[in-house]
Every structure is written in structure tokens, then in C-alpha cells.
Amino acid sequence: MGHRVGARGARRPGAEHRGSRLALCVWWPGFELELERARDPRLVGRPLALPDTSSGTRRTIAQGCAAARARGVLPGMLLSRAIASCPSLVLCEPDPDAYDAASERILDLLRLWSPIVERAADRGRFFVGVDGFERLYGPPERQIEELLERLAGRSSWLAASVRLGYAPGKFAARVAARSAPGRAIVFPDELRSFLAEQSVGVLPVSPRMIRRLERLGIDRLDRLVEIPEQALVAQFGEDGRRALAWATGRRIDRVHPEAKERPVRVALEFPVPIGQLDMVYAALDRLLGRALERSRHRSRSVRGIKVSARLEDGGSWSIRAIIRDPTGSRDRLAKFLRSRIALEPPPRALEELRLEFFRFGPASEQGGLFAPRADAPRVDGSIETRDGDLLPALEEAGRQLRLRLGRGVLYRVLELQPGSRLPERRHALLELA
């Protein structure tokens, strides 16, 4: 029963793999626009918005600051309508590279404070595991003071505009952070009453379900928890069950540390800006070849990939993707990236194209990656080998068995995510070639 590390895994040593139950949500609302203001003080006090570049046409608003929203500028609105509603609106050139770089710096800063830091899917929101911090810093108020001092030490803006939510689990911490400006602390014994006061809009379920709940007159979580679970499941399926678990505080999502990978970055600068997609694809193929050749990652497949570019006349463009089936194949990566770029093409000609592998998966199934190295060292007196090496005798035995039985019977145990709570993600069996 070596893989029993579920919700009751507290009995198991090595609890650091299981994340933190107490969570601190660290959130900068309007992160991108606030960064723009921090970069250019002339923008302070003016209504700002970022156009949506995902369609490549930039005809709609992606997000607006509070001042813009107060003047009727809303996400999804046509640019022409937004400018008509708010003639003084300033449209910022999106610079996703700069936003991501700022996120990374904040992550590094938070990691100095806690070993358990996880970033949310949206930029500007992070979860910090604070289990055991009482013994280090005292009560939650003091812990928050400590963090604010660290943020202020880096930048007064970071400390001044952050919202903090302290609660058991990420969901409640997230809700706490958005419930009030500044900070909100929810102690474990207050969790249920705190959640009861919240609107159903805080639930991480589909907008359709939220709309249906509101139409049924269920606008707050205290009303939701009065409904029998069977009725919710009958109406909303599994979403209904999950919503109830969150609303009652039964479901606590721990903060899990995000492993810091050393990224592989390659770039290509163009003497003359290039605008045609065919040329971008050709440049990308070259970059993929260079990045995959980096020897330290030859035995890994690529899971997270980012393509970015410096644009002619300023600004940047980027796409960032997590690949469902990690691969080390240049052709598959190229095909994947082309399909993504076709959906979100760069809006202008490129001066520089950059490629980054920022997350890696298990060793790829592609041929060659597990090829034994002729110069691989062996440990005398044992059968220990380095990753990717096969003892010749074992290799020969595998070949003989396959010939006799018509199928492979020898497997390599491959470590994937040894700390995962899900047993099947920890190791995989890979048939010996």
C-alpha cells in the first residue's frame, strides 16, 4: 500500500509532498494594467484598458481598470463602443512578456518566504502555503505583516495594491482575497459562516450553472447549502456536488508547491522585421531544433512551451501553452505551435522571435531519447546504471524474450511525479526497447 497518500495521508511521513492546508491568496487585481501604470507614471489616474489580441483583430476590450469600468468600459466590449463611452480611455499595448517576467519575480519573492507557492491560472494571483507559520511568525495577522514588509522591501506598489486572503484551502482563500480590500482572514472555525455570506458567483463552476442558480433564486451560498445534494446532482451533475462541497467548506484544496524548472530559451533576431506567417514558421522550426538539441533536456519531453516576439514599433506578443501529451518530437511540437499561432497570429511584423520550454514531462516516447549511451559509466559491483542506460545483458534478455513470446515483457520504471497525490502519476512502466 505504498501509494496511500490521499486525504488521510497525515500518517505518512514526507508530508511536504502533500501541500499546505492553510492557504494565503496573494492577489493583485488588474495586474497587467497596474504594471503598465508602474512602468509609466503618466498613466496614473487615467482610465486604462487592454485590447483583446486573442482573435488577432483587437476589436474588443480584454480588461479595464476600475476607473474605466466606472465609465462603462467592460470586457468583451467593442473598442469603438468603449471609446465612445469613455473618450479619455487609454488603450495600452499588451506586453505579455513583461507581465510574465513580473509574475516570475513575484514567485521568486514568495518562494523566499514559503517553500509552497503555486500560481493561479490568471496572472497576478498566487497561493502560498502557510501551514506551520504560526510557530515562525505568530498569528495570521503577524504573518501577513511579515509578507507585506517583504513586498514593500521590493516595491511599494507591490505592498500597497495587494489583496490578501487567508483561509483553509485555496478556494476560501481566493474568496477571502476578493471579499475585501487589503486583507481578510478566515479562521478554520469561521469557514462555514464566512462562505455562507458569499454570492454563488464565487463558485468555480460554469457561468451557465451560476446563471441557472441565480434564476432559481439561489444567490448566496447559505441558500445553496440548504438544498439536498441529490437535488443539486440531479440538476447540475457533478458540478452540483462540487459546488455543495465548496459552499459547506467540506472541500479543502491544498496549496501544492510548483516545481521550479530551469527553462530552455532560444531566440532569433531578424535584421529586417518579418510579417509573413510562413517565415515565422520557418524561424520557429530552427528555434525548435536548437532548443531540443540542448543536451541537458534530451531525455525529457516538453510540456510547457512559450513563443514570444518583440514587435516592430514596440510591444510584444506571446502565446503560452501546456501540452496535454508531452513530446520531444520536433515535428509534433512544430505542428502544435503552428496551430496555436494560426489562432492567435502576431499583430505586426516581428523583430525577434523567442522560444521557451518552461515545463518538462517524462522522458519522451520518441525514438532515440532512451538510446543507451556508449560512454555511460557503470558502478562497479552493482547493476546500477544512469538514466537511459541499459545493461547489455538485460537488453539482450529483453530481445530474446520478445522473440520467444511475441511481446515485450521487460519494463523500465520511470519516475514521473513521485510526490503526486494521484498514484498513477508517480511512476510509469515503459517497455524496454
Partner: protein
């Protein structure tokens, strides 16, 4: 995998190795909820001893409402 469970969701009988087997004892039970912000994972695991002594670990996938055997 086909599993019959009681009202509390605890497996009582299952089709194992092509034949119906009664659950002799539930040694342990635990739950994993994860990744609600991505593709939610919600499972209840059971460590079981079947009548006859075979030991296995099952989980009920609450998202799909399906039962699976967890290989050890």
C-alpha cells in the same frame, strides 16, 4: 469495472477476475480532491480485502461516477 456499493458508497460486491466476489473487509478509505481550477479530480479510494483473501485498491471517480482498480 462493475462494483455494487451500499448507501454509504462503500463497495460490497464486485466483478473481479470475471467472477462476482463479496467484499470481506474495508481496510481503509480516503479521498482525493484536486485540480478544481483545471480539470477537477475527485476520488474516494478503498483498500479492500475480498472474501478469499485477495487484496485490492479501488477508487470511485466522483466526476465520472465510475469505479476503477488502482494498480499497486
Amino acid at each position: 469495472m462493475r462494483v455494487a456499493a451500499n448507501e454509504a458508497g462503500i463497495p460490497t460486491r464486485l466483478l473481479f477476475g470475471g467472477e462476482r466476489r463479496e467484499v470481506g473487509a474495508v481496510l481503509d478509505r480516503w479521498r482525493i480532491d484536486d485540480e478544481w481550477w483545471r480539470e477537477p479530480i475527485s476520488r474516494v479510494y478503498f483498500s479492500l480485502v475480498l472474501e478469499g483473501g485477495a487484496h485490492l485498491i479501488l477508487y470511485h471517480d466522483l466526476v465520472e461516477d465510475l469505479w476503477y482498480r488502482q494498480s499497486e
